[in-house]
Amino acid sequence: MAVEMAMEPDYMRDPRKHHFSPYMENGGTSIAIAGDDFVMIASDTRLTRGFNILSRNQEKVLRLTPHTMMASSGCWADVLTLSKVLQDRITMYSHEHNESMPTTAVAQMLSTMLYWRRFFPYYVANILAGLDEQGKGVVATGASVAQIQPLLDNQVAALNMKGATPPKMTKDLARQLIHDAFISAAERDINTGDGIIIHTITKEGKTEEMVKLRRD
């Protein structure tokens, strides 16, 4: 059959059909780890389309409020739109209430906003991270890469180990875990690489660190 197709003159073959799809997978990996008095959120900086690298330095972590950040990956067009709408509604909240929106409220609003598009969804996986009203770290997860979640489950929550207790999460440990997790993800996943930007949110403020990843 395949030979027969190849033997046909081109004018006998079907014309090449383009098909419109409103979605595209642009890759990206993000991680967040919460501690007692801090939260770390990180994403890689690679933006892809199929086998192409569109950009090597596209940050995927959004600064929403002074103590809340969100990492989004998936369909980049949807990420852009969702983040614009989210940012606007957070600004409107701060104008109405004269205070910045608490992380838990942002999480609730995000949930509602995503459900609103239940039948034409934003193709976006989000991780919302921030400090709650008591200053504790809060992480609301959306999704993560298959390679990372088991690693974090094991190292952060001490799952799948007999008699192990979860370690006390410190900034150093969290940073190390994030770095390790991204290195393993970049080894396996072609859509992850180039660099990581790690944000740390504490009561005192926010810091960010840029770490290089493999670029192939």
Binding site: R16, P22, M24, N26, N52, L54, S55, A77
Partner: protein, 260 residues
């Protein structure tokens, strides 16, 4: 005889009048339930191929050939698909030529309005890029996309800007962007050249022409006539009707076997 009144004079209301047929969805009067993908652009007609752009030391450059292909037919060999928006912005598109011409008219009118009203600062590349993202995303959400992959080049204040937007609203900014085949062929060339050192204007222009040459050799929807725009803080220069045919050689073509 009146509808809904039986012979015996007893009123029999129409069950489900105006409602959905059993098992079907309610047909809201204001919306079309027809599959609109039949009436909207779901594939490009006359289309343009790659656009290539890069940021160099002291400016931004974009180039695109001037071929409008109709399928594999090289139908229009002199369609310009790169234009000056303002002194701070240039737009170049690949994809459906008609959609490009439409968005071009909209943008030109927008710029004219801005000028007349006088209280808006000149549309810069960053603003145009952002606006285009919203327009294209909106159209894709209505399942009536503008079949474009566009490159916006120019300045935002004093910093050079080079951005990409496609028909579903995927947008990003980068030091080198390309559309179509250029993503596969030109981007690696530019990234490689950039790793070797800084790009002067001369080097940038030579590199861009090299990219177009490779595209002309390898992309059978590409053409030797092209336009090139050079944007510096001083303004936009567009070189029309450039030609790279003299720089190409097809001597090796006769040695290629296996396709005849």
């Amino acid at each position: 005889m009146m509808a809904g009144v039986s012979l015996t004079g007893v009123f029999t209301p129409n069950l489900w009048s105006g409602g959905p047929a059993p098992g079907q969805l309610y047909n809201f009067p204001a919306t079309k339930t027809q599959n609109e993908s039949r009436t909207h652009t779901m594939y490009p007609s006359t289309s343009g191929t790659s656009v290539v752009g890069l940021v160099y030391d002291g400016g931004v450059m974009v180039a695109a050939d001037s071929l409008g292909s109709y399928g594999s037919l090289a139908r229009f060999r002199n369609v310009k698909r790169l234009f000056r928006v303002t002194d701070k912005a240039v737009l170049a598109c690949s994809g459906d030529i008609a959609d490009y011409q439409f968005i071009r008219e909209v943008i030109e009118q927008k710029v004219r309005d801005d000028e007349i009203h006088g209280y808006t600062p000149e549309l810069n590349a960053c603003a145009l890029h952002c606006w285009l993202t919203r327009v294209l995303y909106n159209r894709r959400s209505r399942f009536d996309p503008l079949w474009l992959e566009s490159v916006v080049a120019g300045y935002k204040g004093d910093t050079p800007f080079l951005g990409f937007v496609d028909k579903i609203g995927t947008a990003f900014e980068a030091k080198e962007v390309a559309t179509g085949f250029g993503v596969h062929l030109a981007i690696p060339m530019i990234r490689e050249a950039r790793e070797k050192g800084n790009l002067t204007r001369e080097a940038a222009r030579k590199l861009l022409v090299d990219c177009l040459k490779v595209l002309y050799y390898r992309d059978c929807r590409a053409h030797f006539k092209y336009q090139l725009a050079d944007i510096t803080p001083e303004g936009v220069t567009i070189h029309d009707d450039l030609d790279l045919k003299q720089e190409t050689s097809w001597e090796v073509a006769s040695f290629v076997r296996g396709y005849d």
